[in-house]
């Protein structure tokens, strides 16, 4: 593989196998996936097909049994690589916001900066910019428990983008929202990613959302069944 080709790929997953319960439950069975920089990819499939596990494998949150995972030119092989990726290259949004309820939205969004020890002034400037873009700037001083569901999920989105990651992984990011908020948050997500030229890998079982992505990868029983980029 040529070096330039490799660098153009944001995510490279090669023949990845992952099982749980000491091998009794096989969740990923030889999955391979290539996502170029700026790609917007939806992972689709029914619950339990391996979408979330694949996202966890890409982020390094789950170790693989076999196979190779490469993100932003780094092999995901050990703890220090995983931490470096999560600090500087990957943002993660979950179905539930997982914000800390007793911190303000601003404090929650600054948690990634605590991890990296990044510059506070630059961090605050970035926070203001992202909060403006997501429409939660006026809510930054509120505690999480005082925010609506949509605001919380937007807050989670801001937090995931605080360290300006090249790759955003989203696991059913609108799954816990009502229909109106679902559309708004998803529009916002796509706008932010496209405007910044970032890469998005999204797990969803909502075909409408999947259709709005550049590419749809359908998973079934731990394997990629269909990839409309192929």
């Amino acid at each position: 593989m040529k070096q330039e080709e490799s660098m153009d790929r944001q995510v490279l997953v090669e023949d990845v196998w992952k099982s749980f319960d000491r091998g009794r439950i096989e969740v990923l069975k030889g999955v391979s996936l290539k996502v170029p920089k700026g790609g917007i990819v939806a992972l689709c499939g029914t619950s339990g097909c391996g979408k979330s596990t694949l996202l966890n494998v890409i982020s390094g949150l789950e170790e693989v049994d076999r196979g190779k995972v490469r993100v932003s030119g780094h092999d995901v092989v050990n703890e220090s690589t995983r931490i470096d990726l999560l600090r500087h290259h990957i943002g993660y949004v979950f179905q539930f916001h997982h914000l800390m309820p007793d911190l303000t939205l601003q404090e929650n969004c600054l948690v990634p900066l605590v991890a990296t020890g990044g510059d506070r002034n630059a961090g605050m400037a970035r926070l203001r910019e992202l909060a403006e873009a997501t429409g939660v700037a006026h809510r930054l001083g509120q505690r999480v428990r005082e925010l609506s569901g949509g605001e919380r999920q937007r807050g989670a989105l801001v937090r995931s983008l605080m360290n300006d990651p090249e790759l955003l992984l989203c696991d059913e990011p609108t799954g816990a929202l009502d229909e109106s908020n679902r559309e708004k948050v998803f529009d916002l997500l796509l706008d932010l990613v496209r405007a910044r030229g970032r890469t998005l890998v999204l797990a969803t079982h909502d075909p409408d959302l999947a259709r709005r992505c550049d590419r749809t990868v359908k998973m079934r029983d731990g394997r990629i069944e269909d990839d409309n980029a192929s």
Binding site: L86, Y92, H98, L110, P112, L113, V114, A115
Partner: protein, 370 residues
């Protein structure tokens, strides 16, 4: 936003849990400082009884308690003839019974002993306390609980003794004791010719080693120690001090369990938060630092509260009329430093398992945790 801000927030949002953890440490610190302070004060008071303007004390070698020490009284006279000794005073320590008071400390001393001069004479005068008489001087508290006055007689042991003075002594043991002429005391206890210790005041420019060398040559059965040496080496003091630290240490152990419990609950109740912190890039070390930081802060709060609690308790105790003079708590910087060191160790030990558990959490698994 900083790690310390997160730590503070974590502690603040679980106030009751934090308070319970801090209370455990506070009780440990308070117990340790109180016990060490009280026993330290008692040791100091006893040391002062022995010193009485002297730099050295002579007693029988290898005795477990000074009450069992037998030193010839003639030694005091012999010592006073030496050029390196300014004054040598024999003292016989005994316990005597009085009606309704089975235990009264009795000091058999000579009239020339300086300790009575230091007291405030409330009744009688020093001249009435003579070497060849039977007249006793009572400490103020002893006079009170024995219901005795100058001019009356008091029953002590098998004998009846005239009271010739009542003195207010600063030291609780002396203030609650009886001063008896040495000869009368020896007779009452069938210890003719002996005393418990001889206190030695050195002549100006003389060295303790001169007394030690002289004693080693002339009286190998006896030993002469400087006051500091005596305090360090006397087995009763060592037992008291060790007891104080052991009791305090046990209290700390219980405090440590409370911190461990607090921190375990703290970790288990926010497993998902810890997982999210890991997803945000927290290393295992940072997660562990957060848990240790919380534990140290709980301990710091507990230590300050415990210090305040013990200081207030000892202050009040020292002012209880019944204990006046007996309780002279001393909390020195060594005791405070010791308690703080133990508090930090307790915090670190208490957080060891919770921090290890939190640091080893796998974020993906933790986020699935219900």
């Amino acid at each position: 936003m900083s790690l310390w801000r997160m730590i503070l927030t974590n502690l603040r949002r679980h106030r009751v849990r934090t308070a319970i953890g801090a209370t455990g440490i506070a009780l440990g610190v308070a117990t340790m400082l109180s016990v060490v302070g009280l026993l330290g004060g008692a040791v100091k008071m006893f040391e002062r009884i022995l010193r009485s303007d002297a730099e050295m004390v002579v007693f029988e070698k290898n005795v477990s308690d000074l009450f069992f020490s037998n030193v010839p009284v003639d030694l005091a006279d012999e010592l006073e003839k030496q050029s390196f000794v300014r004054e040598a005073q024999p003292v016989l320590f005994t316990i005597i019974a009085a009606p309704d008071r089975p235990v009264v400390t009795c000091f058999g001393i000579r009239a020339g002993d300086g300790r009575l001069r230091k007291g405030e004479w409330l009744q009688g005068k020093a001249a009435d306390f003579t070497d060849d008489g039977r007249g006793v001087v009572l400490g103020e508290r002893a006079a009170d609980f024995l219901n005795a006055r100058v001019g009356g007689d008091i029953e002590l042991g098998q004998g009846l003794y005239p009271v010739v003075g009542v003195v207010r002594m600063e030291n609780g043991f002396e203030n609650g004791g009886v001063f008896m002429p040495l000869l009368a005391c020896q007779k009452a206890f069938h210890k003719e010719g002996v005393c418990s210790v001889v206190t030695v005041a050195l002549a100006e420019g003389s060295q303790p080693s001169e007394v030690k060398d002289w004693m080693a040559t002339r009286h190998p059965r006896l030993t002469a120690l400087e006051n500091e040496e005596f305090s360090r080496g006397y087995s009763q003091f060592r037992i008291m001090k060790t007891t104080a630290w052991v009791v305090g240490g046990c209290a700390f152990l219980l405090g440590g369990l409370s911190v461990t419990n607090t921190m375990i609950l703290s970790v288990f109740s926010r497993i998902k938060e810890i997982a999210i912190a890991r997803v945000c890039g927290f290393s295992r070390g940072q997660v562990a630092r957060m848990i240790f930081g919380e534990s140290l802060l709980v301990s710091a709060i507990g230590t300050i509260a415990g210090w305040a609690l013990s200081s207030a308790g000892l202050y009040l105790l020292a002012r209880v009329p019944m204990l006046q003079g007996y309780v002279e708590p001393r909390i020195g910087w060594q005791e405070v430093a010791g308690a703080m060191t133990l508090a930090v160790l307790t915090a670190l030990m208490g957080a060891l398992y919770p921090a290890w558990y939190a640091a080893r959490l796998k974020p993906a698994e933790a986020l699935r945790f219900e």
